[in-house]
Symmetry: C2
Subunit: 334 residues, 2 copies
């Protein structure tokens, strides 16, 4: 194996503001051999996630930052090339933390086998992967949606938002999505079945949300933070729940982030804002996966991926994500 | 009765920034006669509350704003001078919404009789009144304190904060208070039994809280907002609860309020921030009053009032509150 060359993106500096190519070193190294309990896998698809930006920062968070000189952390779908563990055979398809590289040596118990016949492989990084589980546990566990409630989702055509809105519909709620541009807005209404869309690039978000949510917002599933969070807070219904899933608009700020100026809406409406990280629900992943796969099989849950070719595009592809230029779950085909 | 003169503060303009005397008209008018189901009361003590600032603003909130030309809203302790309802007799002492004036005509069913022998009258506007109930329901219902947890309270020598910290102690928690100046800090530790105090006027709040809360903050009872809320958010423990009770540092801002920049601490710590208004707990006031009075009688709950003489001082006395110059529950002796 050691004759194979492995291209890797290693983090070499902590980004200031928007992540850029010069924050990484892109170089080749021979692949390693799997030790006991490990496998060597060839990475097929890599997941691009807003959370990556946080992993590049120093300091305390829910997970250790990527160290300088280390391969950039990423989830991926991969094919087993060599195995030193009885649970994995050559040719098996797995999902797990592969890093941004061509090959990875992974611990067998830290990856999950998936069936490549059941869904297109990139979907295991989207609706049938961490983003889908994030939507599932965030909306159901924190949001506690009740039939007839109005659920607003930001970044609604994105990997997490699209699933959150569709689960809201499955649970009998009205789902309103916020997305950028007419194509994404049309997609979430016509393809995914949202009840309404607000195009934050082309209309006043407050007016749009007020029109679609005449009784206020019962659940706001936030992926973006910033001004859109402020606006949603100003329209909360009594006893509303704000799910803090992410803040993609804020991750590349040079200065401190923009805090939600309208947070006193929580006070006057007896509302709550609660955050979470999907990893905490690891023990319940099987429940979530079963539900998502079931809805997918029955046609109630649809998904879309935005596939970019080439490992070498990683820094620029990640920038697309923060600029909202992707349409659907963003993955790199390695 | 109509020969009695009633001095009144009427709101005549919506304040911009700090409230000031010229936002009111101070004039006399003959007192009215009580209609059926009403009583005429002489106001003895008036409650000065941070919430008053919000009532002066136009716009949607949990309660209608005070109209221009109307008597400024306030809670008070009063003595019945004339009654047109069988439930109230001349000489009875009542608590209720009297407004900032010498006399008020009140609806009998909208005031509560209190026993002047059980506690000093101003206490019915503090620890045994709305502030005490606010602390009680906020800490217990939203905070859900568990024995051994660390509870941090801002404005800890104030009417609400002092009760919240003492209830935290009663429930077996560690209570850390944030207050301004050595006298208030000494008071909350030595008199009220807090485990520690951080003097926000004379020390770094982050360093002080970090020292007193080595395992992080489990419950943060916030009365102030602004930078202190930011700091507390940065020190949350996992599954922490932030109780949004008030934001006295922000109510007089000329511009939009300062949103909590560290709100993503909710995400990484799976924490929640929840607001409330005490009026929602009206059905449970008897439960709260009974608990507070019981703790007071047994010496577990102590209180302090800051009594200013003279109705005519109202605008300047209210300014003292926003500058943190009061020490204990601020009331005016009419």
């Amino acid at each position: 194996m050691s004759t194979l060359q492995n291209r890797q993106f290693k983090l070499t500096s902590r980004p200031v503001g928007m992540v850029k190519r010069s924050d990484f070193e892109f170089a080749s190294t021979p692949v390693g051999d799997p030790g006991p309990g490990e496998a060597l896998v060839k990475v097929l698809y890599l997941s691009l996630d807003p959370a990556m930006r946080g992993w590049m920062n120093a300091g305390r968070s829910y997970i250790a930052p990527v160290g300088l000189g280390e391969v950039m952390r990423a989830g991926g779908v991969a094919s087993v090339v060599a195995s030193n563990d009885p649970s994995l055979a050559v040719g098996d398809t797995v999902v797990g933390g592969t890093g941004v590289q061509d090959y990875a040596v992974v611990k067998a118990k830290e990856v999950t086998k998936v069936d490549p016949r059941l869904a297109p492989l990139p979907r295991y990084l989207g609706a049938l992967g961490m983003p889908g589980l994030t939507a599932y546990f965030g909306l159901l566990d924190i949001g506690q949606p009740k039939e007839g409630e109005t659920v607003v989702v930001s970044a609604a055509s994105g990997a997490v938002g699209a699933v959150a809105g569709q689960i809201a519909k499955i649970k009998g709620c009205r789902a309103i999505g916020i997305a950028g541009g007419p194509d994404k807005c049309r997609y979430i209404v016509e393809e995914l079945g949202f009840d309404g869309a607000v195009d934050y690039k082309n209309e006043d978000v407050r007016a749009g949300l007020a029109r679609h949510c005449p009784k206020g917002i019962d659940i706001y599933f936030d992926n973006v933070g910033g001004d859109i969070l402020d606006t949603a807070l100003s329209l909360l219904a009594r006893r509303a729940r704000v799910i803090v899933c992410g803040a993609v608009s804020q991750y590349n700020n040079h200065e401190s982030i923009h805090g939600p100026r309208n947070y006193l809406s929580l006070l006057v409406n007896h509302a709550l804002m609660e955050g979470f990280v999907v990893f905490e629900y690891a023990a319940r992943y099987p429940e979530g996966m079963q539900a998502l796969a079931g809805w997918m099989a029955s046609g109630k849950l649809k998904a879309r991926e935005d596939v970019i070719e080439g490992l070498e595009t990683f820094p620029e592809t990640l920038q697309k994500l923060f600029r909202g230029e992707n349409f659907g779950k963003l993955v790199i085909k390695v």
